[in-house]
């Protein structure tokens, strides 16, 4: 299955990236291994989202900007409302939605 690097921008991905950066700069980890870890993260994250997550979300809001470039959609929303099954609602003033084509 295809892997996506987009999740590297998520919290968990950023934390991993920072960790790898530190370890590589410290010399405790080779850059090659660090890249392997990132690739494995792409796979694991994608798989985990497919197999372990079952929630659905609806998003509504004012579309401030939209962009489709390199197969990546970017939506910038204003006053976005997010709802999930738990009836949790959140309003974000600005939201970036990055989507990668499947």
């Amino acid at each position: 299955m295809a892997t996506f690097e987009l999740y590297r921008r998520s919290t968990i991905g950023m934390c991993l990236t920072e960790t790898l950066d530190e370890m590589v700069s410290n010399g405790t980890l080779s850059p090659e291994l660090a890249i392997q870890v990132l690739i494995q993260f792409d796979k694991s994250m994608t798989e985990a989202l497919e197999t372990q997550v079952k929630s659905k979300v609806t998003i509504k809001g004012h579309l401030h900007t939209y962009r489709f470039c390199d197969n990546v959609w970017t939506f910038i929303l204003q006053d976005a409302l997010f709802k999930n099954e738990d009836c949790q609602e959140m309003v974000g003033r600005m939201n970036d939605t990055y989507s990668i084509i499947v």
């Binding site: 934390c15 980890l29 291994l33 694991s44 497919e50 372990q52 997550v53 929630s55 579309l63 989507s99």
Partner: protein
């Protein structure tokens, strides 16, 4: 939500670590490296609040993180303010302004006395500062705590040099006034707040000094305004007409006026005159002595700084508020709401966009939310 999200994250971390282990071994890397990687990764995740740590990592409760960073700061400010303490000493409040006045006006009749006073000044200074703060606070204590602290900070920067000058004024005031002790206590409290920045080489008040340097301008102006008023009070005393009530009123007025006074000193005076109708004479009389004292001591430099600051001072009170606002805004901006997902399809009908997303990670309001499917409807 959070728990499931963190559970998924933990699963991903373990999955990655386990599946990378073979490559690590092949590369000749030690197991400890992998363990370090996992430990660092999990630690960062906990710091971000992405993992609540139900398992081993729970130690750090970061879910509240969203509000966390900002709120802590506010909390700190509030405790430092110690509104109660500041408030209690009304006499102090009144007095503080006077000392301030002296420094600005510089011209004091008894230079020798001033020198004597200078040593004690540090303690006095803090008191004065607190007094000014208290005065400000009193008007709107309940809500405005946050705001008041910032102004204090700004004002204090001038502090060290100013303190000396102030000391003189304060000493006189203290002598005249009965509550030096109370004021000192306040200072210590306030010093605690200030401590962060630089500290108190000399006294509790010294803690204020570092901060004051930054905001010095504001303090200066503030002081000046107060000083001018204080000087007025002084004059009264000398004349033998000194009225405590008047002094208090002046102080109060000074506190309220402070913002305006912040501007150039000269402007401040002008403002003061018309508003309070403070006697110009008072300023003149006070200033001469103060200048002599300042010139002799390092304080003079402080005055100079204060002069520079004068332009800035107006900014101080407002600046604090502005800074606070900026911080909040900055935080809000920093908490970027981000949705990462794969899209199944994106359609548009006129200005209405619909998109279907899957397998996404949302970071909203400092919470991570995972979803398998998402439907979005946007109006462009």
């Amino acid at each position: 939500m959070a728990t499931t999200t963190s559970a998924v994250y933990i699963h991903v971390i373990e999955d990655v670590i386990n599946k990378v282990r073979d490559e690590f071994i092949q590369s000749g890397a030690e197991d400890s490296v992998l363990n370090e990687l996992q430990a660092l990764w999990e630690m960062k995740m906990m710091h971000c609040g992405a993992i609540c740590g139900p398992i081993e990592r729970s130690s750090m409760p970061k879910q509240p993180v969203a509000g966390g960073p900002i709120t802590p700061v506010h909390d700190l400010n509030v405790p430092y303010e110690g509104t109660e303490e500041y408030e209690t000493p009304t006499a102090e409040i009144l007095f503080p302004p006077t000392p301030l006045q002296t420094p600005i006006q510089t011209p004091l009749p008894g230079t020798a006395e001033h020198s004597m006073y200078n040593l004690p000044t540090p303690s006095e200074y803090p008191v004065h500062d607190t007094g000014g703060a208290t005065t400000e606070l009193k008007p709107g204590r309940p809500s405005p705590y946050m705001q008041p602290p910032s102004p204090w900070m700004n004002q204090r920067p001038l502090g060290v040099d100013v303190n000396v000058a102030y000391v003189e004024g304060r000493d006189e005031l203290d002598r005249g006034t009965p509550n030096p002790n109370a004021t000192q206590d306040f200072f210590t409290m306030s010093s605690g707040k200030r401590k962060r920045e630089e500290l108190p080489p000399q006294f509790h008040t010294s803690g204020y000094l570092p901060q004051q340097d930054g905001a010095g301008d504001a303090t200066f102006e503030f002081f000046q305004s107060e000083a001018s008023r204080g000087s007025s009070s002084f004059n009264v005393r000398g004349q033998g007409s000194g009225n405590p009530d008047k002094l208090l009123a002046k102080v109060m007025g000074a506190s309220s006026r402070i913002p305006q006074q912040d501007g150039p000193i000269a402007d401040g005076y002008d403002d003061l005159y018309p508003y309070q109708g403070v006697a110009n004479e008072d300023y003149n009389t006070v200033t001469p002595a103060g200048h002599d004292l300042q010139a002799g001591t390092p304080i003079g430099g402080a005055k100079n700084e204060g002069g520079d600051d004068d332009d800035e001072p107006p900014l101080n009170e407002n600046d604090d508020d502005d800074l606070d606002d900026i911080d909040e805004e900055g935080e809000e901006q920093n908490t970027q709401h981000l949705v990462l997902a794969q899209f199944d399809k994106v359609t548009r009908t006129k200005s209405r966009w619909k998109c279907t997303l899957k397998d996404g990670i949302m970071h909203i309001n400092n919470k991570d939310i995972l979803f398998t499917k998402a439907n979005g409807e946007f109006e462009f």
